[in-house]
């Protein structure tokens, strides 16, 4: 019975996430004893001042970023899969991620020659801030176009195609920029594309956290509407849902999430697609009042786990985050799908 599985799945996810959060803070390229970690966390004091700095200035913001980004991306993926009734949809499907990437490509590949970078430089922002600002502008531009299209276009299928087409156009213009860019800038652009939860730091979290919490609240308050649209728009209307308003809120929420994450952490892939599938299989329900909290937890777990593995505990080097999310996540998704296939067919 699903009702018995729900609390267990959620409780297990909470416990696993708490363990991973602790591991995320305790593990890294520098080995810090566990008792020292406790001291640092509880009293912010340690025998080694550097450890204090590493934990508070690097590992804690990095772990918080992973939890927030993972949860928000999972939630946005769930929204998109439900709205478009497409199992491989995530927030990048709207073209907003491509918009943010395009903004970054403009600033990184061309350098300080765009109005966005000029403005950012003029107010004294550092290079990373300029990149972030460009990404937000690019994502905002695509978000504006998507919301405009949502008012004109009734079919979600058409919206999906518009989002895909915008991604193609933006992707092509990035390819053109790459063809003309300096090798050094190309290298920087590729590094940014690896994705990272370390980039924002406390400064980035100041902007990242409120935006992701805002987009998540918009999604959470739409659970009833999401439940209704799994049977299509006409069905949702027939039970009193204002589908136009719902679409606008959902698209805006997913786009804010995708744009913010891409701007601060790079284009993080996979979590948005995988987390909802794992959550569905764990809870054995399509009820969004259950799926939303579970998806947030699963997204946060996958992101935190990927971040821990990417840090290669005990080594100096760091692996590309996007490679890790898919390397760890894809086998997990396949395993979960196969393991729970039989049980969901029989409930």
């Amino acid at each position: 019975m699903p009702s018995k599985d729900i609390p267990i799945a959620v409780v297990v996810c909470v416990v696993v996430l708490l363990i991973l959060i602790f591991c995320g803070i305790a593990l890294g390229s520098i080995k810090i004893p566990i008792d020292q970690i406790d001291n640092i966390l509880l009293s912010q004091e340690s025998t080694n001042h550097a450890w204090n700095t590493i934990v508070w200035q690097i590992r804690i913001p990095r772990t918080i970023t992973a939890v927030l980004v993972g949860g928000a991306l999972g939630l946005a993926g769930l929204q998109m899969q439900t709205l478009f009734r497409n199992p491989v949809a995530d927030s990048s499907i709207l073209g907003v991620t491509a918009g943010a990437t395009w903004g970054v490509a403009l600033s990184v590949l061309i350098g300080a020659t765009t109005p966005a970078t000029d403005f950012a430089s003029a107010i004294g922002w550092e290079l990373t801030s300029v990149t972030t600002f460009s990404a937000i502008l690019g994502a905002g531009l695509v978000l504006f176009i998507i919301l405009l299209a949502a008012q004109k276009v009734r079919s979600v299928g058409t919206l999906l195609i518009i989002g895909l087409m915008m991604s193609y156009v933006l992707g092509s213009s990035i390819t053109l920029l790459l063809a003309w860019a300096d090798p050094e800038n190309i290298q920087r652009y590729i590094s940014w594309g690896f994705g990272s939860f370390r980039s924002p730091g406390w400064g980035g979290l100041f902007w990242l956290a409120p935006l992701l919490i805002l987009s998540s609240i918009m999604a959470i308050t739409s659970a009833k509407q999401l439940n209704a649209v799994i049977f299509g728009e006409a069905y949702a209307k027939s039970i009193g849902i204002n589908t136009r308003l719902f679409k606008t809120i959902t698209l805006a929420s997913a786009a804010i999430c995708a744009g913010t994450v891409t701007a601060f952490c790079g284009p993080i892939t996979f979590i948005g697609i995988a987390a909802p599938h794992i959550a569905r299989r764990l809870t054995k329900t399509s009820d969004h009042f259950v799926l939303i909290p579970t998806t947030i937890l699963v997204g946060a777990i996958v992101a935190t786990l990927a971040e821990i593995v990417a840090q290669l505990p005990g080594h100096d080097s760091v692996l590309p985050l996007n490679a890790i999310t898919a390397l760890i996540g894809a086998p997990i998704v396949i395993w979960v799908l196969i393991k729970y296939q039989a049980s969901t067919e029989n409930i």
Partner: protein, 332 residues
Amino acid sequence: MATEQLEIGYGTEVLIGELNLSIRSGEIIALVGENGSGKSTLIRTLAGLQTSLGGRITLNGDSLQKMSMNKKAKIIGTVSKVTTENIMLTGYKFVSHGRYPYIGWNGRLRPIDDRVINESLDLVKASHLADRTINNLSDGEMQRLVIARALAQESSLLFLDEPTVFLDQSTKLILLNLLRDLSIKRGLAIVSATHDIEYFQQITDTVWNINSDQKPSKVWSSNTEDFALDIHQNFSQGMELALARDLHHNKIFIDAPDELKTLTQQLFRRHAWDITKFKTESDYCITLCMNQDSHGGQIRWSLINRKTLSEISGNSFRELVTGISNVTSTAD
């Protein structure tokens, strides 16, 4: 509900115009017409799920077009095909969607919502489906839940789009009995688009037939009282009916489009004529056998035979056959 000069269609293309319809409390209406004639479009428009291209729809005097979706959902329930593939919800959760117009954003069901959901499940005899997952249900079981969900909305008007499609014969009859009970017990007005008029005619009060003419322009409604007049109107729209009779075997052969044959059968039944056999011989021919001594209410029957419009009436089979005989010989 009533419509005034309603125009329905898509974009700028008017599918059907000048619709002046009314639906009374407790009335059961069957909407018939060929594929693509606009049945579903009419259902969706009247249910407020699709915008009309012109005219007005009023619900107890208020404009439907200006009503919020939430308010509409408290008055109008819709039953249409639901795809349940890969959707993992229990029957109870599915029916609880019918309470969405009444509950807040957090989806918390109050005791009254729980009671209405259980009552709705009980009414459609689907309480045993409450804990089952909907993607494992048969079409008939799912159809019951869809109706239960619409009932949980506590609406007074129910629109159904092809509710009997994909259902086997016995399930069709169960569904029709259910609809009739709801109409009688709850005063629910029911409008159903259907190709299964031979089933629906057993419970329907009114038939709306979307004209099969190439340029559909009118829907005509029919109450039991003026049924003959409706057939007359249908004939004058250009349908042709060929009749022959076999006095020795008490048979009337009718060669007419399907919907007309059904209406004819319904006409005879409404007026308490004793039909011993009503059999579809082929796509275009039916045989109507009657008890020669049967007497019922008077049948007024308008006929077209070889483009001649006539009207016959009779209180007995013999009078009717004589009338047909006169019409056909005049036409000859």
